[in-house]
């Protein structure tokens, strides 16, 4: 983003200009406003005349000025000169605005055809992709020509950093904690640079219950709410553990504990995400479900739903329900 041009300094310290320009933010985006501040350890800037130029034209005076940057691919040349009793100096800075799109998703379970993004839960990982928008004198610079340095919670991840390494994978933070992911990107000569940051919180998986219709399949468009009405006396329900650390809803590492009206319900080990409730008379089935994972004490989700069944035709039983069956 910044390229310091050779400074014409009259007050030098060990051959280095005593005058510097500090920009805030340090990696401004196209069209943004950036504040430029002159700093010097040797010059008394308060008692000096500080004059600024932008692209060769006078742009103001004082220790700080604010300017608006151009579009992607434009370069803004900033100059500052200082003169006073403590000495005089000048320096220049070239600013090329950049931006980095920070795309992320968790590697966690979502059902087929789900249109939303997967988010992290305990034990999952996070994929990150940085898409830099760098434009040099010869046009757009591809990611393959940019050096990426990835950091997780300020610690550099050297294994995933390097030229063209625009993507990385990090473990999700522990439950309810946050991963702070940073990438520094710059061209090999350092003339253009940028930074991207992310803060991603780890949450709980989410249990959602659907009817599994023998005709239409899983009714993903009609999740069960707290209270529901069943159209048929025998209905199969399927739980979807959104964002679980699992390959599928029936991942063998997941342990489903179902109950209906307080009675535990055994399910088919290969299809434990589903139960079938066979109501022989009118009543309300209070379905409860807990999902856990033996290998991860931080993983868990609960849900409860009430489903009203009307009287089944041909039944004369007074019992509200027959024993629920596994599918």
């Amino acid at each position: 983003m910044f390229a310091a041009l050779p400074a014409s300094a009259q007050v030098n310290f060990g051959g280095t200009s005593a005058l510097t320009i500090v920009a805030t933010p340090s990696h401004p985006s196209p069209g943004s406003v950036v504040t430029l501040t002159a700093q010097s350890p040797l010059l008394d800037l308060r008692d000096s005349d500080v004059e600024w130029t932008v692209n060769g034209k006078a742009a103001g005076s004082g220790q700080s000025i604010s300017i608006k940057l151009g579009a992607l691919g434009t370069q803004t040349a900033v100059g500052v000169s200082v003169s006073g009793v403590s000495g005089s100096d000048s320096t220049q800075l070239s600013i090329a605005p950049t931006s980095i799109d920070m795309l992320w998703e968790a590697v966690s379970y979502t059902p087929p055809f789900y249109q939303g993004r997967a988010v992290p839960t305990s034990g999952t990982t996070i994929r990150v992709l940085a898409i830099p928008h760098f434009v040099g004198p010869n046009g757009a610079i591809p990611a393959s020509g940019i050096t990426f340095t990835w950091k997780l919670n300020s610690a550099v991840d050297r294994a995933q950093s390097g030229v063209g390494e625009s993507s990385a994978v990090f473990p999700a933070a522990v439950l309810y904690d946050t991963d702070n992911i940073t990438v520094d990107a710059q061209t090999p000569d350092g003339s253009i640079s940028g930074e991207g940051t992310l803060s991603i919180r780890t949450g709980d998986p989410e249990l959602v219950l659907y009817e599994d219709s023998p005709l239409f399949g899983l009714m993903y468009h009609q999740a069960l709410g707290a209270s529901n009405t069943a159209a048929e006396s025998e209905t199969t329900f399927a739980a979807v553990p959104y964002f679980a650390n699992a390959d599928s809803a029936n991942d063998p590492d997941l342990a489903y504990t179902w109950s209906v009206n307080g009675s535990p319900v055994a399910t088919d080990a290969k299809d434990q995400s589903e139960i079938t409730v066979d109501a022989q008379s009118a009543g309300v089935a209070r379905i409860r479900l807990n999902i856990s994972k033996l290998s991860d004490p931080f993983f868990g989700a609960d849900g409860s739903w009430a489903v009203s069944f009307s009287a089944a035709s041909g039944s004369s039983q007074n019992n509200v329900f027959q024993s629920p069956q596994s599918p």
Partner: protein, 411 residues
């Protein structure tokens, strides 16, 4: 001798008793089967009357009524209402076909994968195919009648089938079969470019996903782009353009890109909870969803500054109208039922009751043009809105039950 006669008599009695028992058992078996079939038919939304689908022109609206029940407020071409409930049973997808002066809609039944034709001239419905492909979760229809049907196999893998259905002008009196090919397994996202007979799909691989273009038969496949991020939605606005939208998440920045022919990405929009509706001309509608607040922006051209519109909705609920004018129609929820509206909507946890607005993207203005409550008591939670090539009809799905509706735009 007397003992033998008694034995014979007992055997005969036993045979008679067994025969009667068998007949009784058979009677109850048939009765149970009939009850089960009736229950399944009822679950499909079908009445007890079997559809006839007879005659040289195939099904009629009467078939639909007898099969699906009385459509809401619209049964014939003489109706003065603008809204027609084409299918009460869940529909997997639909599309306008041909370019005739009287728009025709093809749609795919979710339960059977059968393709049906809905003719806006007389509000007639006819079954085109009878090939059983059960539990179709998503379907696409091209302008020439090509069909894509997507289902899930026993292992949870998405199966994508591409075939073609005969048009009504070629159809015989009986439904035809749907013949075609199965595309690659596991395709996670798919879109059809109506103008170039091109399918675009997202195919997972060992190190990420690839964006692939192909024709509708699955031939001439070409990889356009690869990504380590796997969650993308595809939009093909026409003219050979394809847009990638990162799977949205409420309140979290999402990105949408136009994929260049070189495979590079050109950023179209970024916003929290981003949804997009691009147009081939470069115009764009994009929405943002965050903390229960919906915002919709219009860009009249690719380089134009976005303008905030007065309506509160997501781009998923909008469709561009054909023609030179930058006109779109958007369904707008009367209230936003969740702080994580997009997330909960995609999970089927929340539904809305929408009104329809006309949007002039050039002027960034909006006008309420239709309130479904005038014609139906059913709340319409609009999704997959599509306008016919003549610009006179809007087809849409009600997300709450996947029913299919057609609205005449003109009063």
């Amino acid at each position: 001798m007397k003992t033998s006669a008694s034995v014979v008599r007992l055997v005969i009695i036993a045979i008679v008793v067994l025969a009667l028992g068998g007949l009784a058992g058979w009677y109850y078996f048939l009765r149970g089967a009939e009850h089960q079939t009736g229950a399944q038919d009822a679950a499909r939304g079908y009445g007890t009357t079997a559809p006839s689908f007879a005659g040289s022109t195939g099904s009629t609206n009467q078939n639909v009524i007898s099969t699906l029940g009385e459509p809401v407020n619209e049964t014939s071409s003489t109706s003065t209402t603008r809204l027609w409930e084409v299918s009460q049973v869940p529909v997997a997808g639909f599309g306008w076909v041909g370019s005739s002066t009287q728009p025709i809609l093809y749609f795919v039944e979710r339960s059977s994968g059968n393709v049906l034709e809905a003719n806006t001239n007389g509000d007639m419905v006819m079954r085109l195919t009878d090939t059983l492909r059960p539990k179709i979760y998503q379907a696409l229809v091209s302008r020439d009648g090509s069909i894509v049907e997507r289902s899930i196999d026993d292992s949870g893998t998405i199966i994508t089938f591409s075939g073609i259905a005969a048009s009504s002008t070629d159809a015989t009196s009986t439904p035809d079969s749907l013949q075609g090919n199965t595309l690659s397994q596991g395709i996670t996202g798919i879109a059809a470019d109506q103008s170039t007979d091109t399918l675009y799909f997202i195919l997972p691989g060992p190190t990420g996903v690839s964006l692939v273009s192909t024709n509708w038969s699955g031939a001439k496949q070409k990889t356009l782009f690869s990504s380590s991020i796997e969650g993308w939605q595809l939009v093909a606005p026409g003219g050979g353009t394809v847009v990638l939208l990162q799977d949205p998440l409420d309140g979290v920045t999402g990105y949408a890109y136009s994929v260049q022919k070189t495979g590079s990405l050109s950023l179209l929009a970024e916003a929290p909870g981003l949804t997009v509706l691009p147009r081939s001309s470069g115009a764009l509608l994009f929405g943002s969803s965050s903390n229960g607040t919906l915002s919709l922006y219009a860009q009249s051209a690719a380089t134009a500054a976005p303008a905030l519109l007065s309506i509160r909705t997501v781009a998923d609920k909008c469709a561009w109208a054909p023609g030179a004018a930058l006109t779109a129609y958007c369904a707008v929820p009367q209230s936003v039922p969740s702080q994580q509206f997009l997330d909960d909507r995609y999970k089927g946890l929340v539904h809305t009751s929408d009104q329809l607005y006309e949007v002039d993207a050039s002027a960034a203005s909006t006008t309420l043009f239709y309130d479904p409550r005038n014609d139906t008591s059913a709340p319409l939670d609009v999704e997959d809105m599509s306008i016919d090539p003549s610009g006179r009809y809007i087809a849409l799905l009600n997300a709450a039950d996947q029913s299919l509706w057609v609205l005449r735009i003109a009063q």
